[in-house]
Symmetry: C2
Subunit: 368 residues, 2 copies
């Protein structure tokens, strides 16, 4: 392998694939990034065996070939280079690469390229595409509701369910549920369900550029996201996702319309005092005001927000961190909060055309 490239281009590609390099107890070779020079491009690949990322950048390839180079070292080195053309040449006998820049050079010892695990994707069963900004916004609106606890794998993933031309994205950790619909132009089939690891999607949304189109391909147990010069492959999660449609409560007894960022700020301030444990804030819907309060040994906060109310006056309490997770991604200036009863989940929706709802279980307080 022998090629010349531009510092910024190789660095950007390295930073993309780096997201798949495992940070904990990996096989030594997985701490490396695989380089493959071919035609007028160099392809970089990294994987932790659950997720794999491939990204290419343009290069003047003098000799095709492959090499695996420790991710941390090559990234730090390339990052610290002057803005000069970078020349990289591998030595297949020692598994090392030489990096030349200006009058100087570095040599980094690597791993045998043929021992790097291969990407496998059998041809897909389902295939469609959508604009990167639509996919990224929709994913952000649900990813936060996935569970971190690996003991119940389905809760760590996002359900993607297809019903004709509607794609449902759903995540829940049993305390909260987020559900976003995306309407496609044509039918993609029916009764199709996949559970994609939240971790994969978390990396994906950081990689997708707003003006890119993303191709999605599904097999029985893998998903492939393909955009411009980057490709993300991930295993899917097996198991049955909870019946989310049954969880959404019916007729509401009270509904308020409120400024999203004002509610976010008031909730954050009220949560400041609750340093330890879950940051519980109380809310009270009165005439045209939402009162947000918290009381702890450190003091108390009392916030009053203008709102328009439709229905009963009522009182409830939320985990402020969970509420904030929702308000951060709701993507509209104003939000609705609806209740079907004081102890049933609150329903939070954007005041917009986007088909998105989040459910949040209220916290039961002593004395309720």
């Amino acid at each position: 392998m022998k090629f010349t490239c531009i510092k910024e281009e190789i660095l950007n590609a390295l930073l993309v694939v780096q997201r798949a390099v495992p940070s904990k107890n990996p096989l030594p070779i997985l701490t490396g990034i695989k380089f493959k020079a071919e035609g007028d491009k160099v392809f970089l690949t990294a994987t932790d065996l659950e997720i794999g990322i491939r990204c290419s950048f343009p290069a003047e390839v003098i000799e095709d070939g492959e090499s695996v180079i420790p991710a941390k070292l090559i990234i730090e080195l390339i990052r610290s280079l002057p803005d000069l053309p970078v020349f990289i040449e591998s030595d297949p006998f020692t598994n090392s690469v030489e990096i030349k820049y200006g009058q100087s050079k570095a040599k980094i010892n690597g791993y045998p390229a043929d021992e790097f695990p291969d990407f496998v994707l059998t041809s897909g069963d389902l295939h469609f595409n959508m604009p990167g900004d639509v996919l990224a916004e929709a994913l952000r609106q649900v990813i936060f509701a996935t569970a971190a606890d690996e003991n119940r794998p389905v809760f760590t993933g996002v359900l993607l369910e297809i019903e004709e031309s509607c794609i449902h994205l759903v995540a829940t950790d049993t305390h909260r549920l987020a559900w976003r619909k995306i309407l496609m132009e044509t039918s993609l089939g029916s009764n199709i369900k996949f559970i994609i690891p939240g971790k994969t999607l978390n990396e994906l949304v950081k990689i997708i550029g707003p003006e890119q189109k993303v191709d999605l391909t599904f097999t029985e147990n893998q998903v492939l996201f393909n955009t411009d010069n980057t490709l993300v492959i991930s295993r899917l999660i097996g198991g049955e996702f909870p019946k989310y449609k049954m969880v959404v409560p019916g007729e509401c007894i009270s509904k308020i319309r409120i400024n999203t960022s004002e509610l976010q700020d008031a909730t954050k301030r009220a949560a400041l005092l609750t340093n330890e444990g879950a940051p519980i804030v109380k809310m009270q819907i009165t005439d045209d005001t939402l009162i947000v309060t918290s009381h702890t040994e450190a003091g108390h906060v009392h916030e009053e927000l203008k709102t328009s109310r439709d229905g009963e006056q009522l009182q409830f309490a939320f985990n402020a961190r969970y509420l904030n997770d929702i308000l951060k991604v709701i993507g509209s200036e104003e939000s609705y909060i609806e209740f079907t009863g004081p102890l049933s989940p609150g329903i939070i929706k954007p005041v917009s055309d986007v088909e998105y709802i989040s459910l949040l279980l209220p916290v039961r307080l002593r004395g309720d």
Copy 2:
């Protein structure tokens, strides 16, 4: 205590005095910031009993008084407020304060103001002033060379020695020494020496604004820095500072002149490979080139820098982190590196009028 103020002004003052709030195992009351409303100002004070900082901000004081409020809570609260006037009122019976903003309010429980330790400064023995940017630059050029190890207190401080109109600032951790001279317009006395804690000066340089004048006042065991609306008091360190003038080597056998940032970058790259332990880089002065190299199991780096040489060709090795500490603060586009012998300290100086030198002990390599 009762006053109204502007959010940004109280926040900035809080962030300045916060630097003196102890982070580890303090007396509970020292986690607080003392508020004192008087005239048209509010004075904030914090201290860890070694360093004390007082900072004032303008306020519409309705009632004079004092209060001690937990630093973390009041800072986070004020930071998260909307841009509205802030009204603060203390309740001396409960040691709490109420903060009102817009339609909302918070109450934070505090400490009895009369239990907060007082600043003491007996009138000074020595007094002078200098521009803030001069003092801050000079301090930055020496602070890095102080030792972290509290077992030998004099090495954790910066010596300030006065010889007529010359102020010497010196620090050393025995591996390296930094010495900066500041010339004053008039004589300040002679044979005057103080050792100021490095920690104090580290906080001070972050507080001094470039266009401020700083007043310095010394007593036998305290120093006071006074600028505009901020006052920093610190204990001095007792003991005898090493005789630094004797350490500076005599006639050099080799001298190079080199671009500071190029040397910095090359040294950083060479140090990348040396992940564990001290990052040792080798340097070799040949004809008109400085060759910077490192060799480890991970690979090697070979950097070539143009230089102009005066004297012998020679080889030496430095701890890259120590060299970088010096180059970061040297403040000139080009630097001199001088040697009196291959194993005597390297002398690093700016190519400028500033009277500054840094000594750095070379590392002895196997085979030297």
